[in-house]
Symmetry: C2
Subunit: 581 residues, 2 copies
Amino acid sequence: MKASSYLIPTTKDDPQDAVVASHKLMLRAGLVRKSSSGLYSYLPLGLRILKKIEGIVREEMDAASALEFQLPILTPSEIWKESGRWDKMGKEMFRLRDRHDSESCLGPTHEESFCVLVKPMVRSYKDLPINVYQIHTKFRDEIRPRFGVIRSREFTMKDAYSFHLDDDSLDRTYQKMRTTYRRIFARLGLTTIPVQADSGNMGGSASEEFMVVSPIGEETLTLCDSCGYSGNIEKTPVVVVKNPNPKKEEEAVVETPGQKSITDVANFLSIRPENCLKAVALSCDGKYVLVFLRGERELNENKLKNHLNTNELRPMSQTELTQVGLVAGFIGPGFVPSKDLLVLVDSLADWNEAYVSGANEFDKHKKGVVLSKYFKSDEVQVLDLSQSLPGDPCPNCNSPLKAEKGIEVGHIFKLGQKYSKAFDITVLNDKGKATTTTMGCYGIGINRCMATVIEQCNDDKGIYWPISIAPFEVCLVSIAKNPEDISKIEKIYSALKASGVEVLWDDRDLGPGFKFKDSELIGFPVRLTIGKGFLEKNEITILNRKTMEETTHNFTTEENFVTEVKALLENLRKELAAKLT
Amino acid sequence: MKASSYLIPTTKDDPQDAVVASHKLMLRAGLVRKSSSGLYSYLPLGLRILKKIEGIVREEMDAASALEFQLPILTPSEIWKESGRWDKMGKEMFRLRDRHDSESCLGPTHEESFCVLVKPMVRSYKDLPINVYQIHTKFRDEIRPRFGVIRSREFTMKDAYSFHLDDDSLDRTYQKMRTTYRRIFARLGLTTIPVQADSGNMGGSASEEFMVVSPIGEETLTLCDSCGYSGNIEKTPVVVVKNPNPKKEEEAVVETPGQKSITDVANFLSIRPENCLKAVALSCDGKYVLVFLRGERELNENKLKNHLNTNELRPMSQTELTQVGLVAGFIGPGFVPSKDLLVLVDSLADWNEAYVSGANEFDKHKKGVVLSKYFKSDEVQVLDLSQSLPGDPCPNCNSPLKAEKGIEVGHIFKLGQKYSKAFDITVLNDKGKATTTTMGCYGIGINRCMATVIEQCNDDKGIYWPISIAPFEVCLVSIAKNPEDISKIEKIYSALKASGVEVLWDDRDLGPGFKFKDSELIGFPVRLTIGKGFLEKNEITILNRKTMEETTHNFTTEENFVTEVKALLENLRKELAAKLT
């Protein structure tokens, strides 16, 4: 491709509303343009990258015997009502009415659609397992679209759904997808960590997210350097280490005027937050719940939601607190029990330790509060409800955990029978008995992968693409102007093209500095500079964009030169492939 | 690909709601499934075909130097208001509001979006011409979706938009696209006729549709066997042949009780419709218009719309007619003129001939009505407003025209400056002067192409795909069950695959009759039958699906056999390529 007949609208300055590297660089390198909030247009260079990512995902999915489909984006409300998600999906789902006033949504995910489609095609256990997928546009009306294509409202997703006779079969496909995902991400040049994750509103028993460690990540991972454990903090179990000598203290009420938060109280009384007892009062789908935690801990809302099987959590209002007899800011054991209030205790809170807690009176706390004095252990549920902290023991090997931010690029789920039951997907087993199938589902955000690669592969000059998804493998920069020189370059260009090298020849009428900057910004893995040295003595300078190493080569024939370039590209491919093993 | 791990959900019986061949066969062959009204899911076999069509379109567009983009499907209402189409597009456009109550639509076409995107990228005449395209999902809320994917509500379209400094440049790209389109359709195996077309609500000066003649077509074409003229009937000019001896007759009122239509009156008075004068009274965007036509002719609403530059036509109501002094069913020259009523006369109506017309009195007509007695030729506009009829003189060579139904698979337009003006897309010309660009646009319905190929390529057994877009080139049907035989077939299968032949091996545990029927229904170009002859004496039967010719071949080695199959496929490719020249 000649740059003069291509579109390379690079810009020098950082765009105003972009805060992360990938967003800035995608705009500056002319890969995308913003169309409106959370909506992006792909320009030719950007689309080439996107299509290459799609290609790799497709190849690996096909190799894993998954079958590619394409389903409508518009999905009728009826099927969402059947699964119970029409209301559950809330405002994230774009909804519309057609000219006949029928309600639809723009599919944010396709469990329902695939269930309806696959159901009549699987009748016997012989038709299973089946793993179906598509690579298609999805929509989510994000509250706050951000980071460019990392969190956008319209995006390309690979979503796969597998159907099985039993859990063993589901487990085999789940493991196969796990391996496939690692291959896909490695081929894209991404280093991912699969972490135990929460299944959110997808339902189901097990799920893992594929995370790329990055300071801009919206998820928090807990990692163990010692045994390799990794988890999403939402799901990381907190290990209880028993205190052999629980603190003892006489019970006494203390005046704590205006001291409501744990930090306030600890400061005021010169104690550590760990010595306090925190009370969190919530309305969970309209049900009142009071949770006691050790003072330094935060409630992990996700654990609570899963335990109660609720969707919506919110703090109880002042009025609601009063109604059940609680004093806002000063709640502690000893309040008057109410049948409308469920009490839960985090397992980290020691049953025999003396804590400082609210005294259930305005502006008063109480010292020496011991839980076992107030609650009977068989009347109150003790659960793991707190958020993990760095330094907590690894749930696997007890070494201290560390925390990192991560970007989720893929997610695999064991859905179980949630959808197969809702849509009554049954097959006859080998004994002729109707059996409800079980399901898995597996997603990859294609555009997000593209941005995440940039987050991992950029420097002060711009992007350096892994060879597998670079928009072109080679950028040929020439500055010749007279026809004779140009025809000599044309030969090299044609020879490269003919040998299957993807080459962009920057033949634009611009200065060399400008072209060099563009090629480094866009990030072609290899740059060939054709200047005087070439025209006078068959000398070409080769730049490895990633290492920025430049070497000068002399060659006798074009074939000779092409061979050298191909060898270089082959090396880059091998380097990348080494990550696969 | 082995059929046992693929999905081939063929059905024997015609689906109930399918009336045309392509719709029936796409469902029966397991290429698509209906999801809801006007919405279809593509199954693996169908998606392979769709992707191959996309591939051919992409290759040819790229070869014509067009640049591929991908724009959001969701387009904000603002840009549609800027072009004036937010209201004009009416109910065909799916509209929705997001969580912030911003209005968007699902793009039914992308002139507006591409204008906004391209505008900042073209500043100088040096940046032009540029031809940008995408292959992406489009949405139209059709009143009556039908014929399967031929008229659906969600479909894949290739839409291209070109920007130019002047009309000459636009014309060059328009001609290039015309050639490209003929190449694309020929490669798909489609015989198309480019016809002069009306530009509809796209605006612009010239447009051609690429039509495939088919009885299920929704468009009517006028064709001239003599000179090759072709036009959409919406746009076909009607040539006036002067009557050298116009009929003369005394004017006289006749009682015609209850005879309102031309047919009624002609029958009642035993004359021919041609001897009557038809009056059509319409409200055009709220303006009243009365058109006189020769009795046997229908008004071509499109010609009228274009002349008046209006969108909405509807018959005037009884009340409206009375208001401007017209008597419904009995209108004729001699009515009391009204300044609120525009009178137009079709050019076929002879100015000096005596016609029978309404007498402007209830239940009365008038004989001997001559237009020139009632109207001054400089006061009334005489225009070509009637629909062409078979047998009309060709506008090019005067030979009689014939009419055919046609399916529109592509459309090219010269848009002119409609959108470049609305979005103020100007560049500096070579003298540094700001110049408004001019535009072209070019569309191909990808799914519709797939269905149209089936309309052209089917017989009583099913589909016969052109080799270029067949889901697999070769179907290998085997009925062996013992491991030794199977491993022998496996060798042939692997050798074919290794040599680049796309082969589906029907290794399913089904009877031969079932497999034969499936392969003929789905329509793989070549079928290889591996039965006893193969296992005993290396004999393979080859079926050419299109001709249904079967030949038996003996071979010595696998390579020998592969070479033979490849030669056969090469021949099929050459046959198809012959259509290109």
